[in-house]
C-alpha cells in the first residue's frame, strides 16, 4: 500500500490538486456574484473529479495545447467546474468566462458544443452516456487509441437511456470509456438515498451490466487517480465517486436549495472567508 501511494504521488501531485480545486471554487463563487443562474452546489461536488480527469488522467497532445483524450460533461449543470478548469488550462479565456450568462458572451449554464473545450451540448440528463458510447465506439473503429472520459450525475442514472448506453458500452467492449459518477445524493427535490432506495447498490448494477467498477471518495484526487490507474481494463469503467453537494462551502453542503441558487453578498463573503482546501 505504501509503495502504491508513493508511486501515485510521483505522478499526481495531490497538494497541487487541492490548491487548484480551491481556486476553481473561489472563481465560481466570484462569478456567482454577477448572475443568478449558477448551479454552484452541483459544480462543487465534481470539482475534484473533473480536476483529476483533466490534470491527471487525460493525455495531452504532443504540442501541449489540447488533449488527445476526450472529455464530456454529461451532468451539464456541473459545467461551471469545467469552465473554471478550461480557463486554468488556457483553453477558455478569462474574458469569456467573465461574460458567463450575459448576452455578450457565449457561455450558458449548460455546455454548448463548439465553445472552447466543449465536445457536446448537454443539460438534458441521460444524454451523455449515449453520446460517450458513440464517441468511444468511433475512436475504436478509427483505431485512434483515444479514451473518452465522462462525468455523470447520480440523478441521471435514473434515466433509462443511461442504462441503454451502459449496456451497449459493454456489448461493444468499449474499454476506452471511463465514466465518473458524481454521487452527491441530492436531486432537485430530495435525497435519493431516502427517496429512491432501489437505486442502490450501484456498483453491482454496473458490474452486472458488464462494466468494471470501483468506489472511492470523490473529493480525494489521489484515491481517484489510484483507482483508475489500478483498473484491470478490457471493459468500460465506472468510478463511483461519493461526494458532497456544495462541498467546500459549509453552508451549502447537503442543502438542496443550492442546486439552483447563487449566494447573496453576505453569503458570498461568508463563503469566501470559510473556503478552505478540501481534503479527503
Amino acid at each position: 500500500m505504501r509503495s502504491a501511494e508513493r508511486s501515485v504521488s510521483e505522478k499526481f501531485d495531490d497538494a497541487a490538486a487541492r490548491q487548484r480545486c480551491m481556486r476553481y471554487r473561489r472563481r465560481i463563487l466570484d462569478i456567482s456574484q454577477k448572475v443568478a443562474a449558477l448551479h454552484a452546489a452541483p459544480a462543487f461536488s465534481c470539482v475534484e473529479i473533473t480536476d483529476v480527469i483533466y490534470r491527471g488522467l487525460m493525455r495531452r497532445e504532443s504540442d501541449g495545447k489540447g488533449f488527445s483524450d476526450v472529455f464530456l460533461m454529461s451532468k451539464g449543470h456541473g459545467c461551471m467546474t469545467q469552465y473554471a478548469i478550461l480557463e486554468d488550462l488556457g483553453i477558455l479565456s478569462s474574458e469569456e468566462l467573465d461574460r458567463y450568462c450575459t448576452p455578450q458572451g457565449i457561455l450558458g449554464a449548460h455546455p454548448d458544443r463548439g465553445n472552447p473545450g466543449i465536445e457536446a451540448s448537454t443539460g438534458s440528463l441521460g444524454h451523455g452516456m449515449g453520446i460517450a458510447v458513440g464517441m468511444a465506439y468511433a475512436e475504436k473503429i478509427l483505431r485512434s487509441g483515444k479514451r473518452i472520459f465522462t462525468v455523470l450525475s447520480d440523478g441521471e442514472l435514473q434515466e433509462g437511456s443511461s442504462w441503454e448506453g451502459a449496456m451497449m458500452a459493454a456489448n461493444l467492449h468499449l474499454d476506452n470509456l471511463l465514466a465518473f459518477v458524481d454521487l452527491n445524493d441530492i436531486g432537485g427535490l430530495e435525497k435519493m438515498s431516502e427517496s429512491h432506495t432501489a437505486f442502490y447498490p450501484l456498483r453491482e448494477k454496473f458490474e452486472s451490466f458488464g462494466w468494471e467498477s470501483a468506489a472511492v471518495n470523490g473529493h480525494d484526487c489521489a484515491a481517484m487517480y489510484q483507482a483508475v490507474s489500478a483498473r484491470r481494463g478490457g471493459r468500460p469503467y465506472a468510478l463511483l465517486c461519493k461526494t458532497v453537494k456544495g462541498r467546500g462551502v459549509a453552508f451549502m453542503e447537503h442543502v438542496p436549495i443550492w442546486h439552483y441558487r447563487s449566494p447573496n453578498k453576505e453569503e458570498y463573503a461568508t463563503a469566501i472567508r470559510d473556503l478552505k482546501e478540501v481534503s479527503a
Binding site: I131, V133, Y137, G165, M167
Partner: protein, 306 residues
C-alpha cells in the same frame, strides 16, 4: 424503397469509410446485409433501444463518422424524440434518421406502427431537414444527397418495399429543396410527397380520360420547402389538390395554404390527408388509406367537380 436505400447506401459506403448504420433490432434487407458482412464494424445493432441508437449516432458524428440511424419510422422518430432534438438538431450534426414505413404503410400492425405525424414533428425542429421521396428512383437520389451532405441532420421518410417507379417521365432530375413535375397537365395540379403520389398519378390518368389535364408534382423536400416553386404552382393553376399521407396538421397542406395567403393567390386548394384520428382498421395499405378517405376516386371527384 427499402432495398433501393440499402443498395445506394452500400455503394456510397464502399467509397466513404465514414458511413455507418446504427439500427435498433431491424433485420437488414437486401444490400444492407452485404454491407454488414463486408463492414461489420460499421453496422451496429443497439437492439430494442432507440435512445442509444440516436445517442450513439451523435457521438460517432462528433468524432468524425457519418452515421445513419435506421428503423421503423415511429421508433426512429417518436421514441427517441428528445435525443433527436438535443443530440442531433441542437448540435446540428450531419446524421440521417431513416424512418421506414412512413404513414400507415404497416397497415396491419396497428396505430403503434403508424407514423402519421412524423413530417410535422420532424419539420418543427430547427436545423432538421425532411425528405420524403415518392418511389425507388427518387429514394436513390435522396439517399445519394444524404450520404454526401455534411451540414446537419435529416429525417428521411421512406415507404416499405415494392413501390412502383412513378418518376420515369419526370422532366427534371431530383434536386434537394426543389419540387418537380412527375407529369404535366394544364387544368389542375396534384402535389404531394411519398409513395401516395402513385394515387395521384392514377387519378391524373383517370381525369385525362374525362378530358381534364392534370399535373402531378413531387414535393420530396418538405423542409426546406420550395416556397417559390409552390407559389409558381399557385399562380399557374386555379385548382390544386394537396395529397399527403400524414395528419392534416403541420404538413404540406397547411404550408400550401399559407403560401397562397402570402402570395395573394385565389387558387382553389383542397387538402387530402390522413384523418386526425387513430383508425382501428386492419387490412392492406390501400384499405387503411381508404379508411382515412384517401383513394383515387376521392381525388378524381375533387378535381372533376370543381
Amino acid at each position: 424503397m427499402r432495398n433501393t436505400f440499402a443498395k445506394t447506401f452500400f455503394e456510397a459506403a464502399q467509397k466513404d469509410a465514414r458511413l455507418c448504420v446504427v439500427v435498433a433490432d431491424i433485420s437488414p434487407a437486401g444490400a444492407m446485409d452485404q454491407f454488414r458482412k463486408e463492414f461489420p464494424e460499421r453496422f451496429i445493432n443497439t437492439g430494442v433501444a432507440e435512445q442509444i441508437m440516436i445517442g450513439m449516432c451523435a457521438g460517432m458524428s462528433i468524432r468524425g463518422l457519418k452515421p445513419f440511424a435506421y428503423t421503423i419510422a415511429t421508433f426512429a422518430l417518436y421514441r427517441p424524440f428528445e435525443f433527436i432534438r438535443d443530440d442531433l438538431c441542437y448540435q446540428n450534426l450531419p446524421v440521417t434518421v431513416v424512418g421506414i414505413g412512413g404513414g400507415v404503410t404497416y397497415s396491419t400492425l396497428g396505430g403503434t406502427h403508424h407514423a402519421m405525424e412524423d413530417v410535422a414533428i420532424a419539420a418543427a425542429i430547427p436545423n432538421m431537414r425532411v425528405l420524403a421521396p415518392c418511389d425507388p428512383e427518387e429514394t436513390r437520389a435522396a439517399t445519394q444527397w444524404c450520404v454526401a451532405q455534411e451540414q446537419g441532420p435529416v429525417y428521411l421518410r421512406l415507404g416499405k418495399a415494392g413501390e412502383p417507379v412513378i418518376t420515369g417521365n419526370a422532366t427534371l432530375p431530383f434536386e434537394f429543396g426543389r419540387l418537380r413535375y412527375l407529369r404535366e397537365g394544364g387544368d389542375a395540379c396534384i402535389l404531394g410527397y411519398g409513395p401516395i403520389l402513385k394515387m395521384g398519378i392514377d387519378a391524373a390518368a383517370a381525369l385525362e380520360v374525362k378530358g381534364v389535364s392534370v399535373s402531378v408534382v413531387s414535393v420530396h423536400t418538405l423542409k426546406p420547402l420550395d416556397r417559390e416553386g409552390i407559389a409558381n404552382l399557385l399562380g399557374r393553376f386555379s385548382r390544386i389538390v394537396v395529397l399527403e399521407e400524414m395528419v392534416p396538421q403541420g404538413g404540406l397542406g397547411d404550408a400550401v395554404k399559407a403560401i397562397a395567403w402570402d402570395s395573394g393567390s385565389s387558387c382553389n386548394i383542397q387538402c387530402l390527408s390522413l384523418k386526425h384520428e387513430f383508425i382501428h382498421c386492419y387490412g392492406g395499405h390501400k384499405d387503411l388509406l381508404a379508411a382515412h378517405g384517401l383513394d383515387v376516386g376521392t381525388i378524381v371527384r375533387a378535381l372533376d367537380a370543381t
